[in-house]
Structure formats: structure tokens, C-alpha cells
């Protein structure tokens, strides 16, 4: 009896030990991984390899150029070789980690009948209007017409002409090496009308190592989804001047067409105001030689600040604000001129500040004082004023005078104030800038997340980055038809989104699928390259 009892307790003990062992085994084998999995920080997967590949991207900006030869422009045996295509590729030397190459794809062809007819008209302007009718040119492309060496279309001493609508006219040459010579000249003209190093350097200004010796004029407005433009009339002396300006009409007639032409660069909203008793912060000096008052150029920077607090323009929207001020000087300080560094009065009587706006001083015609008593009614000549303001707006956007090849006839901008290829240049610069900013943001985000190993990465952040197939975009940066505009908008909205991560990926039907569709369509048309 006692032996059976002892055997039973032994069995109990063994069973107990086995149970404990099994328990521990289950706890370790199942429990430990379960605990590990449930207590790790949630890090949504990001495409790190793709993001690090962004640094080594190559950007190829393609400019399609169509070169049209008329009958007598080049020797006959050269004409037999038409049509063919020549590609000229050049690397833009910037100290930026992304290599940028500029590729001019020149398609040479013979002129069609209506083009021959148009180019034999009397003047270049007539020829242009006739040529522009049939087709609308793709954005970013250029067309160069080569006419015969002695054609009367251009003035005698001019070798080429650059028009406002992506066309240029150039004299041909009867020479053995005609195509080479003409090819070089075409590159010169094309560079004046499209991309140059300056444009891209200004666009990438904050990503390049600062070159202190460069001009600090490279400060155009940064790309943004919209801009607010405010026109202000400053009347410090309402007792003497009763100033009227037809700002609504002027905006409708002159500013709105310009902004419509620039609409691809952002949404613009325009407003205006009149400020009374608003003084400049600087006392003008009297110049006895011309019996007028002047503002020296070194005192101009101090003019803006006292006025700015009264402008009150920036309450409503988040877009950058551009202020254009028209100052009618008081009777005691009339007439008032602005002097440049050498002491000569400035013709426009205006100055501007990068990324802020411009100020113009409008002197009242002294004849108005003779007849009537004070206050004198002043009607502002809006044409003169808008000429200056629109020129300042162009400078603020970074649209500068191009570097023309020698002996080139340059037609000024059309009535809108903006040439089509200038807009193309602006859009190129904007797209490169947006691409650079998006790349920087993504790479620094990846770096940051790599450094902080236990930060939570939520799903919306991950979805934002995977929705950005930047690599595919940047290998084929080209323009194709009207989609260019929407594509720029899409890139700029990517830039603004990637600066402020918010939830939601642009879903089907949005700009991304459109863009990808465009890209796949164009990539099938292009010759395959890296």
C-alpha cells in the first residue's frame, strides 16, 4: 500500500514537471514572438531604395526644334538630303547633384507650299501672322524658318529674327558646309529662346552651394500655387491732389491679359486700394539745379518699411503677396525723381524689391496747378503706370531680357506683355525647381526616418511617398502638348504637399494618372535611351 502511494506521488511529480516544461516551451515558442510583434512601433514601409536612387537621377530636358528650309536657302544637293533629324545634347554645368542635360532635337524638313508663300511676303510680321494660322505649336517647341540669303523679308543687316510666338526666321547660306553652319546658328537662337544655364541656376538657387561672387539679382519668386497682387495708390496730400485712377479698367485691359498668359504659373488674384496720408519714410532732398526733389538710391531701401505696415494686404490668403505702389508726391515735394547710383534721374521713376513688389513715383503735371485752386484733380495715366508695373512683374518672376545672338532683330512682346517662349522658359524653370524641392524633401525624410529608429511612421506618410514616382518622371522630362500645363500644376502641388504631409493619396481620376498616361504615351514615341 505504501509503495503504491509513493509511486502515485512520483507520477504526479513527473507529470507536474512535464507540464511545467511544456508550459514554458509554449510560452517561449509562441508567446515571445507574439509579444515582440505586438510591441514593435508601427513603421509603414517606405520605398527607401527608390528614394536614395533619386540622388543619382539624370534629367534630360528636351527641346524639339523644327527647322524649315525654303527653296533658295541652301544649295541643291543639301536640299536633297532633307528631311532628317539631328540631335544636339549638352550638359548644363551646374554644381548640382542631379545631372541636367539639355537636348535639342532638330527636325529638318522642306517648306510646305503655304509656308513658301508666307515667307515671300513683304515683312516678317505679315509672314508670321500667315504662318501662325494653321497649327498651334506644342509648348516648349520651337520652329525656325530658314530663308534665302538675300531675301528681302528681313532688313538688310539682320541675320535672324526672333518672334513672339515660338518662331524664328534666319538667313540661309549657299556654302558647302551649309547644314553645319546653319546648325550652329540655330543652336544660338534656340538657346536664346529656351534654356540657358542662367535660367536653371536661378531656379535651383537654394539647392546649389552659394556662390558669393554671383550677382544677387537671382532672386525670382519661388514657385507657388497662387499669387496675390495688390495695387495701391498712395496719396499723402489729399488737400492738394484729388487723385483718380481707373484701376479696374486698367486691370481689365492690361493686367488681366498678362495674367491669363501666365496662368500656367499659378492662380492670380488682384485687388487694389487707396491709402491717404501715407508718407514715405525718407525725406527727399532738394536739387537746386533742376529745382526738383530727389530720392538718392541708397535711401530707397528705407522707403518700403514704414509703408508696409499700412498696406494690410496679407490677411486673407496664404499665397505670396506682390505689392505695387503708386506714390503721388505731396505738393511741397513735387516733382520728385529717383536717382540711380550715378545721380542721374531714372527714366521710369520706379524701383522694385525682389519677392516684394515695386514702387513708382507719379509726378503731377505742373500745368495742372495753374488754372484751378487746390485740390487739383489728377487723372492718372494708367498706360504709363501699367507699363512700368508689368515690367516689374516680369522682373519679379525672373523673366529677363534674353541674350540675343549678334545681328538679330527682336520683336518685343505682343500686347499681353509676355512672349510664349518666355512662358515656356518660366515653366521649365519651375518644373526643375519643383523636382529639386521634391527630391530634397523625400531624401531628407528618408534620412530622418533612418536616423530615428523608433519613430512611428503612419500610413498616410507612406502613401504620400509611394504616390510619387519621381524616378519615372525625371528620366523623361519633356513637354507634350497641352498637358504640360497640368503637369506643372501637378508637380507644384506635389511640392506643396510633400512639404506638409497630409493624409490621402491622389486617387484615380486625379492629376497623377493623367500625368502617368502622358508619360507613357510620350515615352513610346521617343527614341529609347537611358
Amino acid at each position: 500500500m505504501a509503495a503504491a502511494g509513493a509511486a502515485a506521488t512520483d507520477l504526479e511529480v513527473v507529470r507536474g514537471k512535464r507540464a511545467a516544461l511544456f508550459f514554458a516551451a509554449v510560452a517561449i515558442v509562441l508567446g515571445l514572438p507574439l509579444w515582440w510583434k505586438t510591441t514593435e512601433t508601427y513603421r509603414a514601409p517606405l520605398p527607401y531604395s527608390q528614394i536614395s536612387g533619386l540622388n543619382a537621377l539624370q534629367l534630360r530636358l528636351m527641346v524639339p526644334v523644327t527647322v524649315v528650309f525654303t527653296r533658295d536657302s541652301v544649295p541643291l544637293d543639301d536640299q536633297e538630303k532633307l528631311p532628317f533629324t539631328v540631335v544636339h545634347e549638352r550638359e548644363i554645368p551646374l554644381k548640382y547633384k542631379m545631372k541636367i542635360k539639355c537636348r535639342f532635337q532638330k527636325a529638318y524638313r522642306r517648306a510646305l507650299d503655304h509656308e513658301e508663300e508666307a515667307l515671300s511676303l513683304g515683312s516678317v510680321q505679315e509672314a508670321e501672322t500667315m504662318l501662325a494660322e494653321p497649327q498651334e505649336q506644342a509648348e516648349g517647341s520651337l520652329t525656325v524658318y530658314v530663308i534665302s540669303e538675300h531675301s528681302p523679308l528681313l532688313p538688310q543687316d539682320m541675320m535672324s529674327y526672333i518672334g513672339p510666338k515660338r518662331t524664328a526666321v534666319m538667313r540661309g547660306i549657299m556654302h558647302r558646309e551649309a547644314f553645319n553652319i546653319i546648325g550652329r546658328r540655330i543652336i544660338q537662337v534656340a538657346q536664346a529662346m529656351s534654356l540657358t544655364e542662367d535660367v536653371l541656376a536661378a531656379a535651383l538657387a537654394d539647392h546649389l552651394p552659394e556662390d558669393k561672387w554671383s550677382s544677387d539679382k537671382r532672386r525670382p519668386l519661388k514657385s507657388s500655387l497662387g499669387y496675390e497682387i495688390t495695387f495701391s495708390l498712395l496719396n499723402p496730400d489729399p488737400k492738394s491732389h484729388d487723385v483718380h485712377w481707373d484701376i479696374e479698367g486698367a486691370v481689365r485691359r492690361y493686367v488681366q491679359p498678362f495674367l491669363n498668359a501666365l496662368s500656367a504659373a499659378g492662380n492670380f488674384s488682384v485687388d487694389s486700394q487707396i491709402l491717404y496720408y501715407a508718407m514715405l519714410g525718407v525725406n527727399p532732398r532738394f536739387d537746386p539745379a533742376s529745382s526738383s526733389y530727389y530720392l538718392a538710391s541708397h535711401s530707397l531701401p528705407h522707403v518700403i518699411n514704414p509703408v508696409e505696415s499700412r498696406l494690410g494686404s496679407s490677411a486673407a490668403s496664404l499665397y505670396p503677396v506682390l505689392n505695387f505702389l503708386l506714390y503721388v508726391p505731396e505738393l511741397a515735394h513735387s516733382p520728385l525723381y529717383i536717382q540711380d547710383k550715378d545721380g542721374a534721374p531714372v527714366a521710369t521713376n520706379a524701383f522694385h524689391s525682389p519677392r516684394w513688389g515695386g514702387i513708382m513715383v507719379y509726378n503731377v503735371d505742373p500745368k495742372a496747378y495753374n488754372a484751378s485752386k487746390l485740390p487739383v484733380r489728377v487723372e492718372v495715366d494708367m498706360v504709363r503706370v501699367m507699363e512700368v508695373f508689368l515690367a516689374q512683374l516680369r522682373l519679379l518672376f525672373g523673366i529677363a531680357q534674353p541674350q540675343l545672338p549678334p545681328k538679330c532683330l527682336f520683336s518685343g512682346p505682343k500686347s499681353e506683355g509676355l512672349m510664349t517662349w518666355e512662358l515656356d522658359r518660366l515653366l521649365w524653370a519651375r518644373s526643375v525647381e519643383n523636382l529639386a524641392t521634391a527630391t530634397t524633401t523625400l531624401t531628407s525624410l528618408a534620412q530622418l526616418l533612418g536616423k530615428i529608429s523608433n519613430i512611428v511612421i503612419k500610413d498616410d506618410v507612406a502613401s504620400e511617398t509611394t504616390c510619387a514616382p519621381l524616378r519615372r518622371i525625371s528620366t523623361r522630362l519633356t513637354s507634350s502638348g497641352s498637358r504640360f500645363g497640368t503637369w506643372i500644376q501637378a508637380l507644384s502641388s506635389l511640392k506643396s504637399r510633400s512639404l506638409q504631409p497630409r493624409s490621402g493619396c491622389p486617387s484615380t481620376g486625379g492629376t497623377w494618372t493623367q500625368m502617368l498616361g502622358v508619360l507613357s504615351a510620350t515615352s513610346s514615341r521617343l527614341p529609347s535611351s537611358a
Binding site: D216, N305, S309
Partner: protein, 378 residues
């Protein structure tokens, strides 16, 4: 002999003159380039001024911040470019014997509260989270423009912080702290997003130098009122108000700034000399190793004022005046003027209307006016 040696002397004199003239030409170009080299590349200025302490006995911190605010406004930065964060309202505090004022000098000489103070973050809105959101720009959508720091890559930002601090931290509102590492990371995020061109960081707390030890982003210059292990002391109490009015370091900085006007050429080295140990008891410190330019070339107005770069407009575009439309618009104006009726003011107090509306708004339709309403319709 004399004649022979005369000619070479003339020649050398001529050569020397030529060399001098060439040298002066080259000099002026070099000077031009040098001037550009030393100038800052900013186009706008922002200021973020933070006072982190609440309660009446921390009056001096609010006075500090408001004094810097006043100087910065006087030197030209507009309110739209200043983010002012005050953790408590001293001017309207129940214990303030002079309501609507905040003084910074003994004998109530200078009221820094003024008439046009614009406080963007007030009272309990001054938290570490809000401060970091302002700096990095990740504010919730719907935040008004005055509460955002809309700087870009060409902005010079002045950041001034004051309150109670310790070795490596700054206390916000008695309930939380910001550490120097968080601050350094916030500045790095600003740098990555290109939200500043150059940054000047001034801190007036105890052991303030510990707050800038950890910065690692470029283009930051930092000043502090005391070194690690030292306390920043307050300046003087006012017997009428009953509290200390200002801190010493900011008091002397303010005296220094009062002499600056927007055109002055005073540089940062002078600011570093402000408040030596004899006056301040603590040793102010500064850090310039992350800054690219030499401090003696940095103007005070680069950060405290807002002197803009201007360029003369030399070109215009030509527009065609549209004469036909101008004439017709003139005619429209005249017609409009004729058609308008004479204007009159609206009724300022339409008594009859008010009574009528009160009657209509009675709670129960069977109530008669005499019983339930205070107004009788006459």
C-alpha cells in the same frame, strides 16, 4: 650724369602712375565684389518672440519680450512678419496697478505695451507643440495667416526666447519643457525645408548657453544671457508695481538697440559686447561657428530691422492704349453718376422695428404684451 639718370626716373614715375590708376580701377571692382560678398542674401525678415512664463511675478519676462517686439517694430519689421507668443497677460492682469500698461523702466518711464501690440499666441496657446509647429510650418489647416511663420529660403529670422530655464531645457508655462535637442532638431527641420537663410537665436534665461550647445544646422548665430551654471538676474524692481520689471541682459540689449536706426551700420560684434559681467553679473555667451559670414560683417539691421534690397527698374514694356474703351468707360461713369439716387443714412435706431420684432418673438401666442414683456407698444 644727372641727365642720364633723369629719364629712367621719369619712366619709373610714369609707370608707377599707370600702375596706380590700374590698381585703383581694379580696386573699385574688387570693392564692389567684396561689398557683395559681405552682404547678406536675404530679402525679408521675420521675428519669433516667445515669453514662456506665466504668473504675475514673472512680469519681467513679458516686459522683456515686449521690449524686443517694440524695437523690432521700430526698426521696420511689420506685424505681419512677427509671431509674438506671450504666455500670460500682464497688462490686463487683476494685480496690475496700472492696467493696460507693461513698463520696462523704473519709475514707469517706458510703456512697452503701447497701442498697437499684436499678440499672435496668447496665454495657454503658448505650448512647446505650438512653438515647434510655428517653427517647422506644420500648423493645422485653418490656422490664420498671422499665426504662421511663412518664411522662405531668403528670410532672416530672429528668435528670442525668455523665461525660466535650466541646464539644457526651458520651461513652458510651468507644465512642460523644451530641451535643447528638440530645439536643435527643429532648426534642422527648418534648414532641410529651406525655411531660413540665416537665423539669430537670443535667449535670456538662467543657464541660457546650454540651449544653443546642440545646434548643428548651418547659418545659425546664437546669443545667451548666461553660461551653464550661472543664473540670469533681473534688473530692478519697481515699488509701485511691486515686481521686477526687466532682466538685466535684455535691459542692456534694449539700451543698445535704442541707438540703432534703420540706416545704421553697427555690426554683431558690438552686440556681443553688450552687458559685460560687471553690469550683468552673469557672463553672456555667443556662438558663431555655424555662421558662414564673419560677425563683424553682419549688420544688426540684418536681423532686427527689415532693410530690403531694391533694384531700379530700367526697362518698361510698351502697351497700346485702348482709346475706344477708355471713352466708353468715361461715358459709363457719367451715366452712373446721373442715375444714382441721393444717398441717405440708414436708420440708426429703428425703434418701431425693434418693438415689432420683440412682439413677434414672444414665447407664447396668447401672451399679451402687458403681462410678459417689458415694452409697451404705443
Amino acid at each position: 650724369m644727372a641727365a642720364n639718370s633723369f629719364r629712367p626716373r621719369v619712366l619709373t614715375a610714369l609707370a608707377g602712375l599707370l600702375a596706380l590708376s590700374f590698381g585703383s580701377l581694379a580696386d573699385s571692382r574688387i570693392e564692389d565684389q567684396a561689398e557683395q560678398f559681405f552682404r547678406s542674401g536675404h530679402t525679408n525678415n521675420w521675428a519669433v518672440l516667445v515669453c514662456t512664463s506665466r504668473f504675475w511675478f514673472n512680469y519681467r519676462h513679458v516686459a522683456n519680450t515686449l521690449s524686443v517686439y517694440r524695437s523690432v517694430k521700430r526698426l521696420g519689421i511689420p506685424d505681419s512678419h512677427i509671431v509674438l507668443m506671450l504666455a500670460d497677460d500682464m497688462a490686463c492682469n487683476a494685480r496690475n496697478p496700472k492696467p493696460a500698461t507693461v513698463f520696462s523702466h523704473k519709475n514707469m518711464e517706458l510703456n512697452v505695451y503701447g497701442d498697437d501690440v499684436e499678440v499672435d499666441y496668447r496665454s495657454y496657446e503658448v505650448t512647446v507643440e505650438n512653438f515647434l509647429r510655428v517653427l517647422t510650418g506644420r500648423v493645422p489647416p485653418g490656422t490664420p495667416r498671422s499665426k504662421r511663420l511663412l518664411s522662405d529660403d531668403r528670410s532672416n529670422i530672429l528668435i528670442y526666447m525668455t523665461g525660466h530655464g535650466g541646464n539644457g531645457f526651458l520651461k513652458f508655462q510651468d507644465s512642460e519643457e523644451i530641451t535643447n535637442i528638440e530645439l536643435a532638431d527643429a532648426f534642422e527641420q527648418m534648414w532641410q525645408k529651406r525655411r531660413y537663410n540665416e537665423l539669430l537665436f537670443i535667449i535670456d534665461t538662467c543657464q541660457g548657453a546650454s540651449m544653443y550647445e546642440r545646434f548643428y544646422s548651418p547659418n545659425i548665430m546664437a546669443l545667451a544671457s548666461s553660461q551653464v551654471g550661472e543664473d540670469s538676474l533681473s534688473h530692478q524692481p519697481d515699488p509701485a508695481i511691486g515686481v521686477h520689471l526687466m532682466d538685466r541682459y535684455t535691459f542692456y540689449v534694449l539700451e543698445f538697440l535704442e541707438e540703432i536706426n534703420p540706416a545704421s551700420q553697427t555690426n554683431m560684434n558690438d552686440l556681443f559686447q553688450v552687458c559685460p559681467k560687471s553690469l550683468c553679473v552673469s557672463t553672456p555667451g555667443h556662438r558663431t561657428d555655424l555662421f558662414q559670414r564673419d560677425p563683424k560683417n553682419v549688420l544688426i539691421t540684418d536681423f532686427f530691422g527689415s532693410v530690403r534690397k531694391v533694384e531700379i527698374t530700367t526697362e518698361t514694356i510698351s502697351l497700346q492704349p485702348d482709346l475706344g474703351i477708355m471713352e466708353s468707360s468715361n461715358k459709363e461713369d457719367q451715366i452712373d453718376e446721373e442715375r444714382m439716387e441721393p444717398l441717405k443714412y440708414a436708420e440708426q435706431l429703428p425703434v418701431a422695428q425693434i418693438i415689432h420684432q420683440r412682439l413677434l418673438a414672444l414665447p407664447c401666442p396668447w401672451c399679451t404684451p402687458q403681462h410678459d414683456c417689458l415694452i409697451r407698444e404705443d
